[in-house]
């Protein structure tokens, strides 16, 4: 096989529909791996959880991050190339089909009519076309007679093309968004102010409210925030973000993502204060050259231990307790549940925890691909509608100099139904006119 034929084969495959279909099938089958193997954990997790062969497979093929692996992205890129080539190559032919008016001679010499009938007598052809719901009629005078041509739902030809273009726009927009956008988190209690990574803004959390129903289920989480210029501290925008109601800035949005408990923590060494901070649930405070650490493991706002297991009976801080662990020189030395303000002592160190309140977790996302994905989705949906429900239909007629009218129709999809529709229409029309027709179906 010479080099030319290899390139020809690659070129042929790259713009063939069959190749695109096979590629889509491979992409979908390989994406199953991402639904059964937990994603985006450190490799040590997979080493611990799976056998050595499976681990080797996962680490070699990047199955722990399927959707961002080089081979998955490569397949998406090749699919985009396939869609682009298919769309570019098909467009001129489709436009020809859509805009072309058939030549009379060629039409009259055809023998492959879907449905054809001859009608004699005085007939108003324009009225007949209108009755058949073909309103835009083109008329062409020839030496032998008059040619009438109407074309309905011609956009149907573009249905499949638009579907492919829509999908292409979505894939490209998604990739663009992934490359140029960012995704970051900020958490804090009211009063906290933080820089927003990747932007020139900072955000202060003004308030955080959780709306509980009487049965203690959550109706809504709402954070009140202020966006300021990082340098000048000029207020840019003030507003609220809640679940399903993101806070929109020009090029990023802020989403209410989660919540948890936070406390004020004070650390003393031999009675002298050495640290004071807000400690958030699941955090560990490590201090004094890593000699001492306090882990905030869990929080029980309305503590109850009557069943032998610590639990909370309401979300309100009526009887707040927190579950902690103390680490001394790298070893866990204490683990217990403590009241607010109760000193937790180990050797020369004393922790005091007070002021429990809920913090808000906010997600900041910038995805410049979203407008493109919206356009792509709209194009894709229109394409599917056109492809399935707008079947291009032609109705043609020729009236010769003797007054004989030949009428015929064509469609590329749902041919049997269209044939029946035209036959029934002509039969009914013929009856109303009391005319004489000679069917040749």
């Amino acid at each position: 096989m010479n080099q030319d034929s290899v390139f020809k084969d690659i070129w042929k495959a790259l713009h063939s529909m069959k190749f695109g279909m096979i590629l889509l099938l491979i992409i979908s089958i390989s994406s199953i791996a991402g639904t059964v193997i937990p994603q985006n954990n450190p490799l040590s997790f997979y080493k611990r959880e799976y056998g050595s062969f499976t681990y080797t497979l996962i680490s070699t093929l990047d199955l722990h991050k399927v959707y961002t692996s080089w081979w998955f992205i490569a397949m998406m890129v090749v699919l985009s190339i396939n869609l682009t080539l298919c769309s570019v190559i098909r467009l001129p032919g489709l436009l020809r089909k859509m805009l072309h008016m058939p030549a009379v001679e060629k039409e009259m010499s055809r023998s492959d009519f879907l449905v054809r009938e001859e009608i004699y007598g005085e007939i108003d052809v324009k009225k007949l076309f209108r009755k058949a719901r073909f309103y835009r009629l083109k008329v062409q005078e020839t030496e032998k007679g008059t040619f009438y041509f109407a074309y309905k739902h011609r956009f149907g030809h573009l249905g499949s093309w638009l579907t492919h273009v829509g999908l292409l726009i979505i894939i490209v927009s998604y990739m663009f968004g992934q490359i140029t956008g960012f995704d970051t988190y900020i958490y804090g209690v009211p009063g906290v102010q933080e820089e927003i990574e990747h932007t020139s803004y900072m955000m202060s959390i003004d308030d955080f409210d959780i709306d509980f129903r009487p049965d203690y289920t959550v109706n809504q989480y709402t954070s009140s925030i202020t966006i300021k210029n990082s340098v000048t501290e000029e207020i840019m925008k003030v507003g609220k973000t809640a679940v399903n109601e993101p806070f929109r800035m020009d090029n990023f949005s802020i989403y209410q993502n989660g919540t948890g408990w936070a406390v004020d923590m004070l650390l003393e060494r031999d009675g002298e204060e050495i640290a004071e901070r807000i400690l958030y649930q699941s955090e560990i405070h490590v201090d004094d050259n890593q000699r001492i650490a306090l882990q905030f493991s869990n929080f029980y706002p309305d503590f109850d231990n009557s069943r032998g297991m610590p639990r909370t009976i309401s979300p309100y801080p009526n009887k707040p307790r927190f579950l902690y662990s103390v680490f001394y020189e790298g070893q866990r030395v204490d683990m217990n549940v403590a009241e607010m303000g109760q000193p937790i002592e180990w050797q020369e160190y004393t922790f005091i925890v007070t002021n429990p309140r809920q913090f808000t977790l906010l997600q900041i996302v910038s995805d410049p691909g979203i407008p493109g994905a919206k356009v792509g989705g709209l194009v894709l949906l229109h394409g599917i509608m056109f492809a399935f429900y707008f079947h291009p239909k032609q109705l043609k007629a020729f009236k010769d100099k003797e007054g004989r009218l030949t009428i015929w129709g064509d469609t590329i999809r749902n041919q049997e139904a269209y044939k029946l529709q035209i036959q029934q229409f002509l039969t009914n029309y013929d009856k109303k006119q009391g005319g004489n027709s000679d069917g040749a179906y």
Partner: protein, 276 residues
């Protein structure tokens, strides 16, 4: 009216509907095997009655919950069965081939049977589900899955058709293989359009609720796989490579994917869609 009274009422309507569906399925089966026209007429009558009670049950649940009943496993399963029944009745009316019922009604029964096994408790909506997009997202899924369910039944019919000797009864009530292929295609086309709408509305909603419109969550990934399976089916028909038996088999595989996307993902895979 009290909530418990509403729930009792809904439960009664649901039980009547499920009983009627079972009767209808049995009658369709008797009609098909015994070739008795009367059984067929009764089967069509009973499925309509079942559908009416099913609709009333859904309306009652909606009134009880004060929202559209499309938010948990039970509500979606019962709506899914309702969608298949609706699509079946439309297709039966349009094509007038009663024998389709013998193949589609067991699918309706399968899904509503699954619904009957789920908890019927009415719980207030979690914040992520309090969105107008929920209605569009789930309603389009119901119609889309309904179309795929009908296509699956018709595809089974296609595969079975060769097993039976052609006689006057089958000629009257069972479409030709070409017609069955066409009905299956039409049902899949409907399902495909609505599945695409379901994915699109889901993406818009996901962006508002979770900050991203596509994150390869297992539910999203399996919807994508289902979408690809049916798009391959549609392309294969255009290329005239797969029609008839192969297409029928593919349609059945597609519906297995639909069922996995709905039931399998919720029960077997961890997903932020686990309430659906």
């Amino acid at each position: 009216m009290e909530l418990t009274r509403y729930i009792q009422l809904e439960s009664n309507f649901f039980n009547i509907a499920i009983t009627m569906y079972v009767i209808s399925m049995a009658l369709y089966f008797l009609f098909f095997v015994g070739k008795n026209e009367k059984h067929g007429k009764y089967a069509t009558f009973f499925i309509k009655i079942a559908f009416i009670f099913h609709t009333v049950a859904l309306i009652t649940r909606g009134a009880a919950a004060g929202r559209v009943p499309l938010t948990n496993q039970y509500e979606f399963a019962t709506s899914f069965a309702w969608g298949i029944a609706l699509c079946f009745m439309v297709f039966e009316y349009k094509y007038n081939f009663r024998a389709m019922g013998a193949f589609v009604s067991p699918i309706v029964f399968l899904i509503i049977g699954y619904a009957a096994m789920q908890s019927k408790d009415i719980r207030p909506l979690m914040p992520a589900l309090q969105s107008n997009w929920l209605v569009f997202h789930v309603a389009t899924a119901v119609i889309g899955y309904g179309g795929f369910g009908v296509a699956c039944g018709v595809s089974f019919m296609y595969l079975f058709k060769n097993k039976f000797k052609e006689d006057a009864f089958f000629k009257k009530h069972m479409p030709s293989l070409e017609k069955l292929d066409l009905i299956s295609y039409r049902a899949i086309a409907l399902g495909f359009l609505f599945l695409t709408l379901c994915i699109a509305t889901g993406a818009i909603w996901a962006e508002q609720a979770w900050g991203r419109y596509w994150a390869w969550d297992p539910k999203e990934t399996w919807s994508f796989i289902t979408w690809v399976i049916y798009s391959i089916y549609l392309h294969a028909r255009i290329m005239k490579e797969w029609s008839g038996r192969k297409a029928a088999l593919f349609s059945i595989i597609g519906f297995i994917c639909v069922l996995f996307t709905y039931i399998g993902v919720n029960t077997l895979l961890p997903s932020i869609h686990s309430y659906a």
